[in-house]
Symmetry: C2
Subunit: 331 residues, 2 copies
C-alpha cells in the first residue's frame, strides 16, 4: 500500500500516537490533515508537530462540530481516528464529558464520513481496556467485553459504531485494540496518560517510581513505531474492513518495566506502596493479549526488544523534557 | 420481599412492560411513581394506566432533565428502569436520538440516583439483542456482545453503566436481558415494537402476517407477567447486585408463532415474502437464551405454555384494540 499523494486525515493528531502517525504519513508522501480539539486531558501537545507545521494542514476542531469537520473530510482517502480521552479516573468523575468525547464524537464523525468520503478507509484506535479483568490469557478478540470504567464503555461504543458503519453502509472501517503504548511524544505530565509515561517522568525527574502492591502484574507493551506501522497495515488490508484486532506486544511485570526505566533514567528509586482505594477498583490483574488474528491478516509483529526500545525512548526525552511536563506538555 | 409501603419508581412506566410492572407494584402495596417522557416511538400509551391514575404518581419527564427527575427519586426504595426505545431501524436512521434516549439518559438517571437515593435497589431492562447473531445456543451471559445496530450498542452501554455504578459506588443495581416479550398493553401499532405485537395487530385486523424468508428461525418469548415477576425477584435478591442476567423463555419458530396467532385471531393468512434488504442486515438467525443463572439465584422460571398465554393475550386485546392501533396507541 502506497500512501504517496493520498489524502489522509488524522484525528487527535496532536496527541502521542496521532502525531507519530501523522509524521510517518508525511514520510510516506501523503497529504496530511490533522484534526485536534486540544481538549484538556486528552494529551494534545503542540510541540509534537511544531517542526512540520509547514507541511501539514492542522485544524483545531471538535469532532462533534460537523460544519467544520465535514469539509475537512472531502476527498479523504484515509481517516485515522485517534481522537479521544484515555483516563480511567477522569471518566468516572466526568462521565458526560467522556460520553461526548469518546462516544458521541465518533458517531458524529462517522456520519460525516458516510456523507463526505464514503469510499475512505477508516482505522479507529480502540483499547484492550474494554476487556476488563482477563478471564483467560492471552486475551484474544473473542474474550468477553466487561469494562471496568465509563471510559471502557464508551471506547467499546465508538469501536462498535465503526464496525456497524462497515456492516450497514459498506464503510471500509476497522478498529485496533491498543495495549500500553510508549515512545517519543507521549504525554508524561500525568498518570492519566498511562503508567509507562508516568514512570518515564519519574525516572527523568529523579523522583520515586511508585508501584501499587507488589508490582508483579504482567502487562504487554508496544513501541509507538510498531503501532503506527499497524495503522498503516490495517489501512492497506481490505480484509481488515468490518473487523476489530488486538495489538499485543512483548510482556513484562510492572516492576521489571519500572526497574528498566529507573536504571536508564539515572537511578531513581522504585518503591512499593499500598493500593489507592479508587485505583484498586480499576485493577485488572495480569494482562497480555494475542494479536495472532492481526498478524495472520497483515503480517504485523511487534518488536520484542522492549528493553532497548524503552531505553531509546528515555534518551529521546532527554533535553525535550520541558515540552512534556506540566504545564506545557500533554493537555 | 414485600413491596408494601415501599417507594417504587418506574421509568418508562407508560410503556408495555413498565405499565404492567407499575400495576403489579400497586397490587403489592407499593407507593408507585411512574416517570415517562412520552417520547415518540418508545411505546408509551396513556391508556395503559388510565384506570389507576388516582393511585399512582405520574410524572411526564425526560430522564436527562435532572432538575425534574432528582426530586422524584428522593426516598425511593426501588427504581425499575424501563425507559428506552427499542426500534432497531430507527436507531440507524436517528442514531443521535438513540444515544440520548438509550445512552445518556441512563447515565444521567444513575448520577441522580447516586445523589438522591444511593441505597435504592435498581433494576434495568436490557435486551438479548446486544448479543448479535448467536455463536452458540442457548445463549448465556458469557456469550460475546456484538450488536447488529446502534440500538444494541447503546443498550449495552446503559446496562454497563448500571453495573459500573454497582462496582464503583456500591449501588444495588442489576440488569435483565429481556427476550421477545408479549402480553396485555403492548404496543401493536408498528413493527418497531417487536414482531409478536405486530403479528397480533395483523391477526386481529384480518391482514396477512408476513414472514421474511421461510419463517423457520427460532425465537424464545416471555409473557409479560413472567417478566414482571422477574423484575420483582431481581429487586428482592441481594445476590443480583452488580450482575446481569438473561430472561429466556419457551421457544418456537416464527412460523409457528404466526400460525398460532392467526388461528386465535380469527384466521388471517400467513404469507412468506422476500427479506427486505435493510432488515436482512439485522437478522440474527435462530435465537434462544439460557436463564439458568437467574433461575439459580432467584428460582424464576418462565411459564412454558406460550400457546395458551398468546391466546389469552389476543383475547385481552379484543375490544381494546382501538387503544393500541395508530394513531392512539403506543407512541
Amino acid at each position: 500500500m502506497s500512501f504517496a499523494g493520498k489524502n489522509a486525515v488524522v484525528t487527535g493528531g496532536l496527541g502521542f500516537i496521532g502525531s507519530n502517525l501523522a509524521r510517518r504519513l508525511l514520510e510516506e508522501g501523503a497529504r496530511v490533515t490533522v484534526v485536534d480539539s486540544l481538549a484538556p486531558k486528552c494529551g494534545a501537545n503542540r510541540h509534537n508537530l511544531a517542526d512540520v507545521l509547514d507541511r501539514i494542514r492542522l485544524e483545531e476542531a471538535d469532532l462533534c462540530g460537523r460544519l467544520r469537520i465535514g469539509p475537512l473530510l472531502e476527498g479523504a482517502d484515509f481517516v485515522f481516528n485517534l481522537a479521544g480521552r484515555i483516563s480511567h479516573l477522569d471518566s468516572m468523575t466526568a462521565p458526560f464529558e467522556d460520553l461526548a468525547i469518546n462516544g458521541q464524537a465518533h458517531l458524529s464523525l462517522l456520519e460525516e464520513i458516510r456523507g463526505r468520503c464514503p469510499l475512505a478507509t477508516v482505522v479507529y484506535a480502540s483499547t484492550r481496556q474494554l476487556y476488563g479483568p482477563p478471564r483467560y490469557l492471552p486475551v484474544d478478540e473473542a474474550h468477553p467485553v466487561s469494562p471496568v470504567d465509563i471510559n471502557g464503555v464508551h471506547k467499546f461504543s465508538a469501536e462498535q459504531y465503526h464496525l456497524l458503519f462497515a456492516r450497514h453502509y459498506g464503510l471500509r472501517a476497522c478498529a485496533l485494540r491498543l495495549t500500553n503504548t510508549y515512545g517519543p511524544r507521549q504525554a508524561l505530565s500525568h498518570p492519566r496518560f498511562g503508567f509507562v509515561g508516568w514512570f518515564i517522568n519519574r525516572a527523568l525527574t529523579g523522583q520515586p517510581i511508585e508501584l501499587f502492591g507488589d508490582g508483579a502484574y504482567l502487562r504487554d507493551l508496544n513501541h509507538v513505531d510498531d503501532v503506527v506501522q499497524a495503522f498503516l497495515l490495517a489501512a492497506g488490508a481490505e480484509a481488515c474492513a468490518g473487523r476489530v484486532f488486538n495489538l499485543s506486544g512483548p510482556r513484562a511485570s510492572l516492576e521489571h518495566i519500572a526497574q528498566v526505566l529507573a536504571k536508564t533514567g539515572g537511578g531513581c528509586p522504585v518503591v512499593k506502596v499500598e493500593y489507592p482505594a479508587q485505583l484498586r477498583k480499576l485493577e485488572i490483574g495480569d494482562y497480555y493479549g494475542s494479536s495472532e488474528a492481526f498478524a495472520s491478516v497483515t503480517g504485523w509483529r511487534a518488536n520484542p526488544d522492549w528493553v532497548g526500545d524503552l531505553a531509546r525512548t528515555v534518551e529521546w526525552f532527554r533535553g525535550r523534557l520541558h515540552h512534556y511536563l506540566p504545564a506545557e506538555g500533554g493537555r
